[in-house]
Symmetry: C2
């Protein structure tokens, strides 16, 4: 701290205990539970709020000299325990909160690029760019809080990725302060072949390699047309076949998501109560769907759609959806349901914190999977969760539901919600974590990936040897050791070094 | 060789001098000239033709043990001196010709994936997949000879990338044998977030990190519709404005390319002579364009288009092109000209070898550049080439022409052809290389990238410090040293180590 005092303003140094606590965790169920129970084992010793890149350079230099660990912090919305301090770390740990570095440095409207500081928060980026008629189109569920730098470090995916791409498609250049100096390039190219590009290593680096300070992103004009839609299908299988055909057909809506029956019922339960005429309309609609169309209330599922683009593009997308919907016995269910379905995503995290107080523990987790394995994977994970629940003699029935949230040529992203009642359970968080781990094991066995966009952090570290050859692990470790020899970025995520991997046990021990 | 004899069949080992010569170069003008003049300074000591991945593993192990250098070899179409043997290399050099590993290992028609061995040649891949109704859509100019492994190692771009993507978009998984073992992943995910992905380091690795043995690629159905088109514009500026608007409009044709006036005239000169009625038709057409429309023969340019997709998509693309063409004073010039323009690309390399015998040295080089810098960059490079030519008192006039070959949201790829007469010039190749180097210098000064898709190799190594921070260079070097400590893959491309960079002087010295 003495070394820093010479280089950066005292106002950026923050030793407030509450602030340290706030910077010592992300948002997994385990972390929230640990905070409630006063069980968080370690928090950062200091929080720094740099306002300039020069502060970050001074910080990294001082940390390298004085053997201190730096953990970059963005919106704090991480759900992989990546922000947890390794409990076996003997050195001082500093959380580097980047949110004061939140400026749009420049906008280039001709080439449709903007340079934005890494600490800028999603919804602020959206608002600021909208004033200029642009969007970057990146809308992860966490967009209210998460930051540009966090998106890169997590290799994030937004709900409208069909139109705008995932973070690796949107970011054209990225700049980072590392233990070996500032990683940067001179000039931003539309695309190039200039050797293995070290900037690409930052995507999904989870704080392991350096602190991202800014990025150049693509801009898109605000869409001429934006419309919502929804389609009901008699079963999840019908819906998945529709999604597959849509993936093959092209003309993808910006967002297309399929919820299973339980999630469909859950979203219906969250609808504001109808009154007056709307009660009749609502009842008539239900009657039509269940009696006339013959949809089973405990089988039917819903697909919600967001269309964006030129008027031409949007109507082309709508036509494709209508045609394929009919092909799979779908029934249009209006734009209002589509809008509600899309926006529900943002409230789920709030619901989780609400129900926690009612002794329900909830968590989401995701994967990506080839089309041919999707339906089986969903069924296997649900079955496994129920089996594990029964095996432990836990009370009640687990809430386990899924939705397909992103489509690709070769497969899709699947998102699960898991809820367990903790009333009367002796060590509820232990049971919850064991069941979530079993679900991940089932995902891998069923052909799913370790993560579509949440990342690895410390939560999923133990599974890395199942998906990567020893050579792949070694490459990552050796490269980390070579470019951060003092392990300044010793957050302990991924498989940085055998030492740090030990520290990762914090998640399991909690 | 004794160690190898135990592990792999004798038939895979090749010491034939002609074969060694063939494997000791790529296709830059300098290399072709060196061969003609008997000036190639070093060739591989041995060529190996593995037929199985186990042969490659045995090779890499033996090389690591016996301190031998391996240089992977695909189609040999490299134009960055990446295949040249470093002259300061004291160790045995083995060229690993991958073309016997050319099988399609499996096709998954549901998830639209295929696993293909790295030595498979582009045109064979196209033919084999077409039998199953699929394409990977990757058509670089070298597609007749270049291989899948070479595409990954060069970070290649195909002419139809607008529809199918560049190689990094097409390849979903890649497998390589390295000094640390086999780099592989278990399972192919549509997209994931599992840390910095070492497989991505192989893209553009130029033989530096290991030998790529196979890749899983996306498949696309053969297009329902394929049509060609062409549009004439009164000037290059008009054409560039059209390209920019098209890039912003979406609905991109699979290929859209704009040739400048000189290249347009050149392509006209290469047309088969018209006869009979066609003479009249041809003359009338010219009259209409130049007299009625008022296009200047020494100003006008042409844009050629390839449309692919469903009938709907293709007609949407055609409408967009027609609308934007009119907006920029363009005149439709028919599909036959479009087809001819697209196919001309494949013959250019043959023309180069033909004119070399007539004492004309020719070469192509490329860059990518932001839209706002494109026109200036093209003009600057042409001016600089002419200035350098005059300054050296070289005879005649240099042939320097460009075309815009790939469009992106934020910019485009520009391709130059340079031709110089060598009759009566004392050291023509020296002059040629100096002028090409000056052109690259001018490209970088004008905001262009070091390479869009040819790569760095040894030819452009000297420019790396101009585009990368010292940290970026260090990361690459340190990672290379950590994962290939004995420098088995000592081809000397990119900036692998200060030692190898010395060896890179071979290009300059020739």
């Amino acid at each position: 701290m003495k070394a820093l005092a010479k280089e950066i303003p005292a106002s950026t140094l923050d030793t407030d205990p509450v602030s340290r606590l706030r910077h010592g965790h992300g948002h997994t169920m385990m972390e929230i539970h640990a905070i409630h129970e006063g069980q968080l084992q370690r928090v950062p010793d200091l929080v720094v709020h740099p306002t300039e890149e020069s502060h970050v350079v001074a910080l990294v230099t001082a940390a390298d000299t004085h053997d201190v660990v730096l953990i970059p912090y963005g919106g704090g919305t991480c759900v992989t325990e990546a922000l947890l301090c390794p409990t076996n770390e003997g050195r001082m740990i500093v959380s580097v909160d980047m949110r004061q570095m939140n400026r749009i440095e420049w906008i280039d409207p001709v080439n449709r690029l903007a340079c934005i500081q890494a600490g800028a928060v999603g919804r602020h980026i959206m608002d600021s760019l909208a004033e200029h008629g642009f969007t970057i189109g990146h809308e992860p569920d966490s967009v209210e809080f998460s930051t540009l730098g966090g998106w890169v470090a997590t290799n994030a995916s937004g709900m409208k990725k069909n139109r705008y791409g995932n973070i690796e498609d949107i970011v054209m250049d990225v700049r980072a302060v590392t233990a070996r100096g500032t990683l940067e390039r001179f000039g931003v190219s539309p695309r190039e072949s200039t050797g293995a590009d070290p900037r690409r290593w930052l995507f999904g680096s989870e704080g392991n390699l350096g602190i991202i300070t800014s990025a150049v992103v693509k801009l898109f004009p605000l869409p001429e047309a934006q419309r919502y839609g929804s389609v009901l299908f008699p079963s999840f299988d019908h819906g998945v076949r529709f999604m597959y055909d849509l993936a093959q057909a092209g003309q993808w809506p910006a967002s297309v998501r399929l919820v299973d029956n339980l999630q469909f019922q859950f979203s219906m339960a969250l609808k504001p109560a109808a009154s007056g005429f709307h009660v009749w309309k609502s009842k008539l609609e239900k009657l039509f769907v269940t009696k006339v169309k013959g949809f089973q209330p405990d089988e039917m599922v819903a697909c919600t759609l967001v269309y964006e683009g030129t008027e031409d593009e949007v109507s082309g997308q709508e036509k494709t959806v209508a045609r394929l919907g009919r092909l799979h016995d779908g029934m249009p269910a209006g734009s209002e349901n589509g809008r509600r379905g899309y926006q529900l995503t943002f409230s789920i995290a709030y619901i989780r914190d609400f129900v926690y107080k009612l002794r329900v523990m909830g968590e989401s987790f995701e994967t990506s999977v080839a089309w041919s394995d999707l339906t089986t994977l969903c069924a296997n994970v649900k079955r496994r969760v129920i089996e594990e629940h029964v095996r432990r003699g836990l009370p009640g029935v687990p809430f386990i539901t899924c939705r397909v949230t992103q489509i690709y040529d070769t497969g899709a992203c699947v998102y699960f919600y898991l809820g367990l009642g903790s009333e009367g359970v002796e060590n509820p968080i232990q049971a919850f974590m064991e069941i979530e781990t079993a679900a991940r094991d089932e995902i891998l066995k069923s052909g799913g990936s370790l993560s579509h966009h949440h990342g690895v952090g410390k939560l999923r570290q133990r599974f890395l040897p199942q998906i990567m050859s020893e050579t792949a692990m070694t490459w990552n470790r050796e490269a980390k050791d070579a470019i951060d020899p003092n392990n300044v970025f010793g957050c302990g995520n991924l498989p940085p070094s055998p030492d740090a991997a030990e520290g990762a046990k914090v998640g399991e021990a909690a």
